[in-house]
Amino acid sequence: MAEKIKLFVNGVEVEVEAKKNLIDAISAVGIEIPHLCYHPALGADGNCRMCLVGIEDGRPPLVPACKTPAREGMKVLLDAEHIKKIQHDVMELELINHPIDCPVCDQAGECKLQDYYMSYDQKESRMTVPQVTKGKKLDFGSGVIHDQERCVVCGRCVRFCRQITKTGELGAINRSDDTRINIFPGRPLNNRYALNVVDLCPVGAMTSSDFRFKQRVWFLKKAPGICHGCAKGCNITIDHNRQKYEDDIIYRFRPLLNKQVNGYFICDEGRLSYKQENDGRLIEARLSTQPRSIDEILTASTKEIDRAEKIVISLSPNCSLEQMITIKALSEKLGATLTGYSEGYIKQDDGDDFLIQDDKSANRAGLQLLEIDNSRDTFTGAIREADLLINFNNNLLLSFAEKEISKLLKGTKVITVTSHDTPFTTMADMAIPVASFSEYAGTVVNSDNILQSFGKAITKNIDLDDISGIAARLGSPLQTPGERFAALQQIISALNGFEPDNIPAEGLKLKESEAANVTA
């Protein structure tokens, strides 16, 4: 436990964590100190001056909270008249050269200038002289569009590119009120995390060309989730909306703080992977290429299973632990060969030392925990002898060339249970559509052996069953979520004492030896 100290805020004693700066220490007890330039991931800069607070008997008596560590007995003044006046005065100065184009600004609704105007200013403009004009709609590259006039020059974006990505594309050019953010000509944003500057920007100066003008943020519903773009398992906020007469659509992924996993950021590829939740989905069951009802295909599938001599069941490394264990139970019941072979999900040397992993699947660690075979030899050996392959969302075309897999599957019936309509889907004899990860609840284990659970974020108009449900209907003994979780608890001791919905938000760090704790 972090060391605690007592200090006073507006005369009221509060207990806060020692060694934090005043903004973080005091916000932990629910008291906001306004700030624009400070960001916990980027450190204190002290340029915006919004966080100036009074320190009773302090020397000096006025300090930037972002640069001031919380100390025992400190008497912090936030609601004193002279502090409220400073907050107002600084807000007035932030706004004099701001275009106040909120009606056409994407940030409207989640803008610190708007929020702080309401909280600390609320006065009419006294600006009767011409404003400073600067550049608008500048393409900074990597899908980032910049408006220099909306910018408050907090420098978060500049610091992000220098401190976090170490690519340094952005600079604060000029000085005085001509200061503006820019790229050096011909050297645009060129890093795989660039879109984080859009989230970091406290105002509407940095916008994403992908999200621009697509949706007013106040219409967006926010749900937490886990990115399935790679094995890191970055925490995300899924911003979605169901417009009248339309389906529930995801508009963007944004990073969600998880200090144990991704911190404050996500990569651009993961961020834009929301599109795959909206597009290219399989929403109908098929017999070969013909649409059929799901029930019809399930009945046909059961017949195929009954008829088959040798069955191979393959599953995706993106499946949740619940899905994996349900499939495993099904496999054991059918005496099938179970394989999680999915080498094609791994892009060698694509990862970095920050968030991006080589492995583009969300739960390969789960395969290992559940001791599901991963090898190519097992897969190819078994498939040659098999007369039926039941494939759970494993896009085999990532691991095999089309000719190769066609040859391997010759004489083998293929039932594919899939969230997406891929070329592999069309190769299957039968296809059953299932929910994708934003549409079901589950648990995954990331590349750092951290187990995380996520809830169902999206309910589509056609609310498809998830893989566990389909596996259950195909005969898996694990019929209910409760049974599945109990089965997981048998294997993963860290889950004991938890329910699916009370796993800590920051996840459970599993012991390296967790896989050895198999009791069955």
């Binding site: 600067k134 550049g135 500049v158 590119c161 220098r162 690519t167 340094g168 594309e169 952005l170 600079g171 604060a172 050019i173 000029n174 000085r175 005085s176 009120d177 001509d178 503006r180 820019n182 790229i183 050096f184 000509p185 011909g186 050297r187």
Partner: protein, 168 residues
Amino acid sequence: MSDRSQLISTGKPFQYDKERDAEFERLVKRYPTRESMILPSLWLIQEQEGWVSQEAIAYAADRIGTFASKVYEAATFYTMYHLHPMGENHICICRTLSCWLRGKQEIVDYLETKIGIKPGQISEDGKFSLEEVECLGHCGTAPVVQVNGEFHEDMDVDKLKSLLATLL
């Protein structure tokens, strides 16, 4: 301060001549970090070319091993770096307090009519450029004019006439 963010591209790669190259290598040894060379490297560019182009900034950044954005920041922050070609004779007139009190405006007015350009401009023949600058630290001998780096103190129209005569 006015906007200095628009850099001019020469379309040609920049590099130091032999002398500046050697000077760069001499100076870089004087600092514990290479980034300390940002200001000196820009000075060397300006000494060589008379101004600082987009290519020259990129060159300095790469030579130092730093982000071009950092050199770009410095080049635009420090107003003595010329980001476009200047006149053969660059005339700076101090516009601040003591020079203003002692009649800098007469100097500016005379130069404007004589050369036919305003501060911030370059004459068509490229012979002159004028700039009003902030305090040059010669307040006791105001007004002061700096031509190609040389100070001319206690200026008045008569002195200016003879000074211009040497430049024309």
